[in-house]
């Protein structure tokens, strides 16, 4: 068991460097192998963050690695000593690390800048450990100076430090964990281990096959080892699919703790999968969720059969109920409550706006947060945030960008060093959120604008659909630069957000054409470029965006007009999706039945009483990647095929920012 695990360490030089990254962590993870069962909640909460961690590396041979990981468990103690000496090791670790993220990066300067920003902050806020401090202390200055960074040399060193710091920090914390029994550290370790396994398991299609193999292997080994091992693995397997994703199976954890071996990696790997979303056609779970819910939800009538798996509630009953509760004492922080209400009423919409509003509400909530007696800061805050999030979900399902932001926040909480006092931790979290907003959203938008404006030429006719903040900024910026172009705003019911965009553009003096989505093939003849926003870009290149985007992209494709999607990288997600049905959001169907400003169209009054009638108000759709010519993101302009690279390469930044 030990030899295979130790090999990477002893044979560091011959083994490709990338691979090594994948291997040197298991010992660390293995230290935390028997996770504290009480932390299972946090672990499961933080693991989504780990999903994005997968580095660009040649995955080691699958079976070998599997074996490695499986065997690695018991052999923790000898390595701990080694890993404590992380400072020394990190020097070459770093050099190993450095090429990996850099090479595929299309625009290294931006990425490096952002990374540096992230690093610095990380050190500022989140550490108090000996090993890391030395390295880190040199960074905050450079880290914040976004412009001063030189792309070629600096990124290397910075990326280096990223890895170094991470290592050393983790280790130092681990020490503490072993000494002081700080429970939160475990939480932090879990993601790292998940990260190491990521290259092998990140692809959804591989997972099923792999799990089968693994199960067989685990069973065989467990047979050799202990009888209980088999039992636990089976246990984990059987319970897993049934349980809600949020609640990690405690029994399995307990079992794994006993055994200390096979189960955690198995679990991790399973959690590696994008969390199975709540399927609302599962009656028992819906019931369960309802009991927990703050918002009183009544199921909408006349639901579309095809979308039973998505939540749909009567909006009328929801809002007054929530408003009535506003002044009651509730577990939800008022700032969060307010944002939730705004989601519900649709006052805040649009990916960035919603995300920023949520983060700011969390900032408020953290500011007012007090640790209750006999609870630890990290655990309780994570639970708190979790409850806020589930409240927000009840108001309106989260967008993918919000999911990413929450994931970031939770990982930041989990990584808080225990040495920090409560106020320090709070302020560090607040500044983290602040930085996320400014760098991942605002700065990213600026970078996107800078890139995309180069694609606008004089005489262009640009078409956009709905209202995207990024596209709007691009158009306005191009106008400020004095480019001569015309804008076609295509709009669709029921939201008619294009009207708002139209107004803002016209006020700035752009000449616009306004039309509805059905006329898009009429207007497409004169269009030279299509600029679209996106709610998310999935790792198969699918652009998940406001419903109708796919139609526009399709028509543009049919007319041979380039389609340029503008999307910040924080909205990227490693999930894959082929259609718009498996995962979507349902809006209030009543808004379809009425046409604003058209009293003559009133055929559908009282439609809910008609037995065979359903109204479907989809919010998103999935644009196939072949309709997309280019995606403009804060890392540059990439084809849709490069999305998974960005997700893998830069996804983990969100943890380290």
């Amino acid at each position: 068991m030990d030899p295979p695990r130790r090999t990477p360490r002893s044979v560091i030089d011959p083994v490709p460097k990338f691979r090594q990254v994948g291997f040197f962590a298991p010992p660390e993870r293995s230290q935390s192998g028997p996770p504290d069962p009480t932390h299972s909640l946090q672990i499961s909460d933080t693991t989504p963050a780990a999903n994005s961690l997968s580095p660009v590396m040649i995955p080691p041979p699958r079976h070998l690695s599997d074996n490695l990981l499986l065997h690695a468990r018991p052999a923790t103690s000898p390595l701990r000593a080694e890993s404590i000496a992380a400072a020394g090791r990190s020097s070459y670790d770093a050099s190993d690390f450095f090429p990996a993220p850099l090479s595929p990066a299309p625009s290294s300067s931006y990425s490096s800048r952002i990374i540096t920003g992230g690093d610095g902050s990380f050190f500022n806020g989140g550490k108090g450990s000996n090993g890391g401090k030395v390295v880190a202390s040199s960074f905050p200055r450079g880290g914040f100076d976004l412009t001063a960074m030189k792309s070629s040399v600096v990124p290397a060193s910075e990326l280096t430090t990223v890895s170094v710091v991470n290592d050393s920090l983790g280790i130092s914390e681990k020490e503490k964990a072993t000494k002081g029994g700080g429970s939160a550290v475990e939480v932090k370790d879990q993601p790292t281990s998940a990260k190491q396994q990521k290259p092998k398991t990140s692809k959804a299609e591989r997972r099923a096959l792999q799990e089968a193999q693994r199960a067989a292997k685990a069973a065989a080994k467990a047979d050799g080892n202990k009888a209980s091992g088999a039992a636990t693995s089976v246990n984990a397997k059987s319970t897993k699919p049934v349980k809600p994703a949020q609640k990690v199976d405690n029994a399995a954890v307990a079992a794994s703790e006993k055994k200390g071996g096979d189960c955690p990696p198995e679990k991790d790997r399973k959690k590696d999968a994008p969390q199975p979303r709540m399927q609302y056609d599962d009656k028992s779970r819906v019931e369960k969720a309802k009991r927990r819910a703050v918002v009183k939800q009544t199921e909408a009538r006349n639901r579309v059969e095809l979308f039973r798996h998505l939540p749909q509630y009567e909006h009328e009953s929801q809002l007054p109920d929530l408003e009535a509760k506003f002044f009651h004492l509730s577990p939800v922080h008022p700032a969060v409550y307010k944002v939730g209400l705004q989601y519900l009423t649709g006052d805040i919409s649009g990916g960035n706006a919603r995300c920023i509003a949520m983060l700011q509400a969390f900032q408020e909530a953290i500011k007012d947060y007090k640790v209750p007696h006999e609870k630890t800061f990290v655990r309780d805050l994570t639970a708190k945030i979790g409850s806020y999030v589930s409240f927000l979900i009840e108001c309106r399902p989260l967008s993918i960008s919000m999911g990413n932001a929450i994931r970031f926040l939770k990982s930041r909480i989990a990584k808080l060093p225990l040495t920090l006092s409560e106020s320090e931790a709070k302020s560090s979290l607040q500044s983290d959120i602040e930085r996320f907003i400014s760098e991942k959203i605002i700065l990213a938008n600026k970078v996107i604008v800078k890139h995309a404006v180069t694609k606008i030429r004089d005489g262009d006719v640009l078409l956009t659909y709905g209202s995207s903040s990024a596209v709007e900024m691009i158009l306005l910026h191009a106008h400020e630069l004095g480019k001569q172009f015309r804008v076609v705003v295509v709009d669709s019911r029921p939201k008619l957000r294009g009207k708002l965009l139209l107004r803002r553009l016209v006020e700035k003096g752009l000449s616009c054409t306004y039309t509805h989505i059905n006329a898009v093939s009429y207007i497409m003849h004169e269009v030279t470029r299509v600029f679209l926003g996106a709610a998310s870009v999935l790792s198969n290149g699918t652009v998940y965006s406001r419903v109708g985007t796919a139609c526009v992209a399709m028509v543009a494709h049919a007319f041979r007009v380039p389609v340029i999607v503008c999307c910040e990288a924080y909205k990227f997600h490693e999930r894959v999706q082929l259609d718009s049905i498996c995962s979507n959001e349902l809006g209030d169907p009543n808004v379809i039945s009425k046409v604003v400003g058209r009293e003559d169209v009133s055929y559908l009054d009282g439609w809910a009483n008609v037995e065979n009638m359903q109204l479907l108000n989809l919010i998103y759709d999935a644009t196939p990647s072949d309709y997309v010519s280019m995606i403009v993101t804060d890392y540059g302009m990439v084809p849709p095929t490069s999305v998974p690279v960005i997700v893998r390469e830069y996804g983990r930044e969100q943890i380290w920012i």
């Binding site: 579309v304 095809l306 709009d491 669709s492 019911r493 029921p494 009207k499 139209l502 107004r503 553009l505 016209v506 006020e507 003096g509 752009l510 000449s511 616009c512 054409t513 306004y514 039309t515 509805h516 989505i517 059905n518 006329a519 898009v520 093939s521 009429y522 207007i523 003849h525 419903v547 109708g548 796919a550 139609c551 399709m554 028509v555 049919a558 259609d579 718009s580 049905i581 979507n584 379809i592 039945s593 046409v595 400003g597 058209r598 169209v601 055929y603 559908l604 439609w607 008609v610 037995e611 065979n612 009638m613 359903q614 109204l615 479907l616 108000n617 989809l618 759709d621 999935a622 196939p624």
Partner: protein
């Protein structure tokens, strides 16, 4: 005097301030034709024309018309009949003008309504058109063309009007042909049966029997290689050939000579009645085919509303097929709401979706069934706005795109740039309220402007259409040109080419 009054009234009604030229032309034509026809009439009706002229001069309409009449010598007694027939003309002209106005103001829309009304109008035009003994078909054709041209120019986008005009023209030609053929068929039998006196008996006596036979062949037989080789004459010449052929054989023709004028008209009116019937019931025939195309548990998507589609789906429902329908609402008219309501009321599982959700839903759809505004000769479809998008989405997901189309929607023209030329921009108020953006528009500085584009139709190219279901069955887009050849004759394609009305 009664006659005169009526006639004067006609003129009065015909005076559109907007179209002085047309009025003049109309006067000239009608009066000119009167003049020609009345070469022999003299004394009896002199008073009538005198009073007309008086009224005309009162009205200051047209010195030209006055002149043309004054110079006429009225000779025959025919004029009495002619003037009597003129008394009927006002009614038709009123109808035509009414209809033209309605078309122009878009009061009547939709190919079925316009088609049917056009056919009815043309029927009354034909029935009130007085036909001379000679060239009856040509007279009718010219009359129909004259009216048809007005109608088409009133609303060129309403292709059904032009279609019906051409159909009626085709009917006239066909009926004329079949009469001629019947006459030729009876040629041998009735060779010696002629007693009646015929004015034109000697006119075409010298025409060879061979020409008659050729004409007969071309009418009787289906197109074959032989006929193609033999009959090289322009199809446009057929009516003339046949009519002259009919008249050439004085002996045989004279049997029906007296009744023939009425017979042709009668036959044509019968055929037009059939056409009207067809238009009003075509959706039934289309609906009959529904069960052949819709299977159990089928998921169907449609956009907007069409009576044909509604009846089609309803017919399938009647036959105990259970299926689901997704209805896209079809902005900016939102007729989909109506369709969804009707379908749900009739017991079909109906889901109304927004137009933007078409692409999202199409992957779960088995068939797209839509109506059309018109089908062009190349198989392209002029359809309600949004259908091109639906067709593209259907093609992407390999979903059959089926167009239900009555035969009155088949247009014999080939489209060129149909998205623009065969389209119509509707009022922006359907998209933006009037004055909604007046606050942010600054015309003084000239910066910032809004165009609102609200087209009515979409063009779906033939390659995106899987199937046309017409009242005569299902057809490929590539077959439409042939189907169209059944309904129209080639020399009617351009209605505008109006010969100078000489008769």
């Amino acid at each position: 005097m009664h006659v005169t009054h009526l006639y004067a009234k006609t003129f009065q009604r015909n005076i559109f301030p907007k179209h002085p030229t047309r009025t003049n032309r109309h006067c000239t034509n009608s009066l000119g034709s009167i003049g020609e026809k009345t070469q022999t009439a003299e004394n009896q009706i002199q008073w009538s024309f005198g009073s007309i002229l008086k009224i005309l001069s009162n009205l200051n309409i047209s010195s030209l018309a006055k002149h043309s009449i004054e110079t006429q010598t009225l000779k025959t007694i025919d004029v009495v009949i002619l003037v009597l027939s003129l008394t009927k003309m006002p009614n038709v002209q009123i109808l035509v003008n009414d209809f033209v106005n309605q078309l122009r103001k878009r009061k009547i829309e939709g190919s079925q309504a316009t088609g049917q009304q056009t056919a009815e109008l043309l029927r009354s035009v034909i029935s009130q058109q007085r036909v001379p003994h000679t060239n009856q078909a040509t007279t009718l054709i010219n009359a129909v063309r004259a009216v048809g041209e007005q109608l088409i120019s009133a609303n060129p986008v309403e292709l059904a009007v032009g279609n019906i005009v051409r159909r009626v023209l085709h009917i006239i030609r066909e009926e004329d042909l079949s009469l001629a053929t019947a006459a030729i068929a009876g040629l041998g039998l009735s060779a010696a049966s002629d007693d009646e006196d015929d004015v034109e008996r000697d006119d075409h006596h010298g025409l060879s029997a061979a020409a008659v036979a050729a004409a007969a062949r071309s009418t009787l037989r289906l197109p074959s290689l032989q006929t193609l080789l033999e009959d090289t004459s322009d199809p446009a010449a057929i009516p003339h050939t046949s009519s002259s052929g009919g008249e050439s054989e004085g002996k045989s023709r004279s049997v029906e000579k007296g009744s023939r004028g009425r017979k042709l008209k009668h036959d044509v009116i019968e055929a037009v009645n059939e056409l009207i019937q067809d238009i009003s019931t075509c959706y039934e025939q289309i609906a009959e085919q529904a069960v052949e195309h819709i299977h159990q548990n089928e998921v169907i998507l449609t956009l907007g509303s069409s009576k044909t589609v509604l009846e089609f789906l309803y017919a399938a429902k009647e036959k105990k097929r259970s299926f689901k329908v997704f209805v896209a609402e079809g902005a900016p008219r939102y007729q989909g709401h109506l369709l969804a309501k009707e379908l749900a009321a009739r017991g079909s599982q109906t889901t109304l979706i927004t137009d933007s959700a078409v692409f999202a839903m199409i992957s779960r759809v088995n068939m797209v069934i839509v109506g059309a505004h018109a089908v062009m000769a190349n198989g392209g479809v002029i359809a309600p706005i949004g259908l091109n998008m639906v067709a593209l989405a259907a093609q992407r997901h390999a979903v059959p795109f089926v167009v239900l189309v009555g035969s009155h929607k088949l247009c014999p023209l080939y489209p060129h740039n149909p998205e623009v030329l065969l389209n119509e921009l509707r009022s922006p108020s359907e998209l933006l309220d009037f004055g909604e953006f007046s606050d942010c528009l600054d015309y003084a500085s000239g910066a910032g402007s809004i165009h609102v584009v609200n087209p009515t139709f979409d063009y779906v190219p033939p390659k995106l259409v899987s199937l046309f279901i017409t009242d005569t069955g299902g057809h490929n887009p590539s077959y439409m040109y042939r189907l169209i050849a059944d309904y129209y004759s080639a020399d009617d394609l351009v209605v505008k080419r109006r010969p100078i009305t000489g008769s």
